[in-house]
Symmetry: D2
Subunit: 388 residues, 4 copies
């Protein structure tokens, strides 16, 4: 798709879901640094998310986290979103912050704790019904810290049983997205540690179950684009949690640590049919803005995804296929690098102007006065954070 007009048309359809919790405070185990103007409730999170969409035109939905975003009236929350040009997106469960979950949730040795965890997941589906969300996104902190602590295999049995009950509850058009993570907060075993484990469970559950790739959740050196290509080939890629990392699950802005990797991932997405209006792959951010201003960081992240996508779309696939067929290692690599080395920012400025947006989202946001406004107005109350 090296026709710039087609690339631009494709880019105009791009949508990146932002997570409600990224607008709140976050940090490390050492310290959470509070920021000025941070939202104090789900509506204020949506207000901020609306700004990201207003200036990028590419962030039309917002993922919720239960119970952090629990409200009495989800219809009213959805209306609040819609008034701001947004829709509510995936529902994310939380089975890691109750005291009961010290040794796990859905994999816990005690059936009562497992019951509680599954009930929470079922409640999340109820919320999906209310919000009209398509996706239930499941990340389990379950695991063990010490060899012998629990029976690795029995935990898989419990996991399978719990997931099956939730899967049965899904309605038509609803999906279960299962996330894997290499480690943290568990430090010896993690019950869904890699794509293979998530894939095996999804396969047994059925077609509504898909794997989520969080780009920060892999062992050092893992080739993530290979996993993406494989899951697309298997019809089991549900979506992405985008972020970037140098070390572990650093949760930095997507594209900040290794923009070439992000490009390679997006190339496999495009090549594998995962991009575009026909695809149901979900593109979501899942980041922590511990020290940088949150809204501009999220705008920057959306732009980074756009830039990587633009480069991926610019790859001359015919030339690439020809070089690959003929075994021209350097030639094939050069075709890919030619797209990567292109400065796509002018193209994206045009895309934005075509969409009636300011070509420079960050500058436009800075001029908008929103940051000053929320710092002045959001005083008192409890700032949102992982524990709230």
């Amino acid at each position: 798709m090296t026709d710039p007009a087609a690339v631009k048309a494709a880019l105009k359809t791009q949508a990146v879901e932002t997570p409600s919790w990224a607008y709140g405070n976050s940090g490390t185990r050492f310290k959470v640094f509070a920021q000025q103007g941070v939202p104090r409730d789900p509506r204020e999170k949506l207000d901020d998310a609306a700004k990201v969409h207003e200036f990028t035109g590419a962030a039309p939905t917002v993922a919720l986290h239960i119970p952090w975003d629990k409200v009495d009236d989800y219809a009213a929350l959805a209306e609040h979103a819609e008034e701001r040009g947004l829709k509510l997106g995936a529902i994310n469960s939380n089975t890691f912050q109750d005291d009961d979950y010290k040794l796990g949730s859905i994999c816990h040795p005690d059936a009562a704790v497992r019951r509680k965890a599954v009930d929470h997941l079922l409640e999340c589906v109820d919320i999906m019904d209310a919000t009209g969300s398509r996706d239930l996104k499941l990340w389990f902190a379950d695991g063990t810290n010490y060899p012998g602590q629990d029976d690795v295999r029995a935990r898989q049995d419990r996991l399978a049983e719990g997931l099956a009950e939730v899967y049965e509850r899904l309605g038509d058009g609803q999906r279960m997205l299962l996330e894997y993570k290499f480690f943290e907060p568990a430090f010896y075993t993690t019950d869904v540690p890699d794509w293979g484990t998530a894939y095996a469970h999804c396969l047994k559950l059925g077609p509504k179950a898909r794997v989520v790739v969080d780009t920060g959740h892999h062992a050092p050196g893992t080739n993530i684009e290979f996993i993406v290509a494989t899951l697309l080939r298997e019809g089991k890629l549900g979506g992405f949690d985008f972020n970037s990392r140098f070390y572990a699950d650093d949760d930095l802005m997507v594209g900040a640590a290794d923009p070439f990797q992000l490009f390679r991932i997006m190339y496999e997405v495009v090549r594998g049919g995962g991009f575009g209006v026909e695809s149901d792959v979900a593109f979501m951010l899942d980041q922590c803005h511990n020290i940088e201003a949150k809204i501009p960081a999220i705008i920057r992240s959306v732009m980074n995804v756009q830039e990587a996508t633009a480069k991926a779309l610019l790859v001359d696939r015919e030339a690439l296929a020809e070089a690959q067929r003929s075994g021209d290692v350097l030639g094939a690599n050069a075709v890919l690098m030619d797209a990567y080395n292109t400065d796509v920012r002018p193209l994206l400025r045009e895309v934005r102007e075509d969409m009636g947006l300011d070509p420079e989202p960050l500058a436009a946001y800075a001029r908008s006065g929103w940051a000053e406004k929320i710092a002045a107005e959001r005083v008192g109350g409890q700032q949102a954070g992982w524990g709230a």
Copy 2:
């Protein structure tokens, strides 16, 4: 199974397959250091393997590598083995040392190269028919070195197609063991890089296809025992290629780098039903003795597996289950560590004495004069190595 008599009985049934190529020279890309007395043909490799079995009583089969061990008359080779108390084991294919395989074998972009590779695999099944081997062990060096070099997904299609043809050729009682490897010799993508990929292919192929876990073929930090437990749960663990590593695929003696990890792996094997006469999991060594004497290193490796297995068998599983059920993190860990911290060498000396063996295999081998004999006799000719 904390009854010492039962543990001893179980240990007497243990069998570890040794690979013919470990008796030959090996090295790194920088240098292959030749050793005195190295075998010059498959029969001399079997002669050495017989010594390992003679002194350990636990290495009754020998894996062959085609074409390194190609002979005109496999029945005669099998007879040579049997005269020495051995049987021929798995047949290992080689699709990485012909010039044609520079860009891959079964995944190569050129159909003619793929045909050649598949034909080689079919020939290996022919050899299995001749040797009576149960297992065809497949490791593919296939992959790419540079982004864009080839189409990641198309390579999976080619892989699936080639494997399917070979699978169809398998006879009753024959199996295909598919090995995965994180990287090397390919340095960007590897076509079977992780257990998930191997598992997905085996699942589609059918019940005769199983995954092989090479303990050196994982990303840093990967929890191998988790993979073992998972594959056993799925009924898809075919066997092990044992070795150990500090960094990459170092191919050091099993148990040399992290004996605690080996114990944890063997514990999951035992717990998951992968050990004992009812199990068809294959235990094989796959190591390189670049600087240490080869036969003693292999004897030591067999002993290391025995020691880890003995400790795994000694775990007080009732006490462990009780501590796990009650959420006693430290108590459960202590049960496991109690077995690990036990010095099982006296127990294994008893096992050997019961079997009519010298309790100290390495000392007995040293006294046997075999090393001096082969150094004196195996003069002239071409020493076996990876290229021979």
Copy 3:
């Protein structure tokens, strides 16, 4: 030192410092699980530490963390310790939990923040004067999350300047122990990321400055015993922060993840003159007991260090040297492994009995009723934790 009597005598001199903060609550960024009976002030932490020493005989000092252990009267605190058979140990600074430190402390771009950080370090030396502590232990969370965020080299200049001012303040017999850490909480650069950086700074500061090796603060695959041997050779090893890890800075119990590595480290300590009454190397724990009971975990950790040390002392160094001299790779390895494979628990039971202790510290602690007592008595107030 394969004379068991000499080994036992050496073991009786062993001392492992426990950290006050390990008795308080800790967790991950996802959740801190509170435990019953956790201390609410420095005195209660000392009360718990006294129990560890009472049952192990090997934990006679307690490290303090400022400001978490700030008190009005350090002499009274020291007296509280001494009444329980303890002494106060190293003073640990904290320059990572004030809001001012969001972008660093001693390396911060703003001179006012650097001034505040250095003043805190100077205050810690004042406290050392009051407590009679020998060691100021410095760990800096300083670093950056994004490329370009700050000037990497200028931060080193600021670090050198700040350390120099603190070094000048040290009295006779006082030392500065500089800790390095691979990453976290900074996720792009860390200002003291490796032993080389810590060493280079200590070298310029002078003989009172030494490097601290935290066993969890290295890149995957790093050979820690090599670093220990090198620092001992350079006369720059100040001490250890012991813990263990499978992935990142997991802060599990020392010896829990890789007991063979702990043994190899202790062997280099012994071989390099770092163990025994003539050595001034400090052995400290620095762990997080997020899900396991804290006091028993600390007792277990002290025991793990003792067991690794016992094995290290049991190495037949003459036989080892002879095998090394003759290039006997397998023989030399076997000498080391022979010590490692020895079950030293009977020996340590004897050591404890000789010292008038119960041979089984964990069982004795469990019987003591202390856990029940503190759970019942320590009600109300604020449990100690990283933020308190």
Copy 4:
């Protein structure tokens, strides 16, 4: 230096040394794939290197490897080079391919082997005298494969002693560049495993000793630009061995795996005064072109270094410093990314045209017919490779 004219002027001075051995065959332990037209002697290697310089204008020197490039008459070899517009560069020693070096060279337990190794290094200095080379580049494969195999600390003593003797032999204007490597071919300890060890030795040797950073020789996740900044600050950065890697020491083309990392490294070089006519930092390639055509791969590598350097020079350092000073995390990152995201290929085409070169070196080389010529002419004889 955001003035394009100044950037172009700086780029015209850039020189990247190419290694003679990269023109020969290389491979992995599994297979060396021979290529057509590969040089058969040092002169043919220089002929190929001359082509790289002819088309890039940026590769004026060639590093030699002894004994691979041993000749009777170095003056004649130098004249051969000069006739082709080249100069001979660094002399690289080889103490890893003689059978004597199985257990090490300069660190070997046997003094006779150490003597042989040191004599080889002294011979390399003799050759430097003959070639007029400034730099002796030392990489030692020394290390151990098994715990206990040798005395880690004694090996450091031997290393120090050997290096000191060679250092003493250096003439005025000659330097010793000491390379470190994380692992391979040694798989347990490596005697110079990290920059800290190399730095400590260089510090004691004196001002002529400097550290070489090979970009592929680090633990996973290591921040290489931090090391570069630190070594420049200490005045101890001797130079680079450029290549790239996804996993271990993959020796792929520089910039192929992580072009953003290469940019960050070059930014620290520029910022730390390591680039330009006043700097004596050496920029060298050290790569293996196992499957791709060698000369084009080397041309591409030189271009990749140029592109990263151009981007580094384009960083608006005033704007960056201002953002850093004010703690503007996103703003500072954006200044850096703005340079990185620039397509510098047009600028480099101008640089080449100004220098009288074809703006597209790879296309020009392809048109030159050199590849066909050497494939036709270099028939018979022994192709150069690591063992030749």
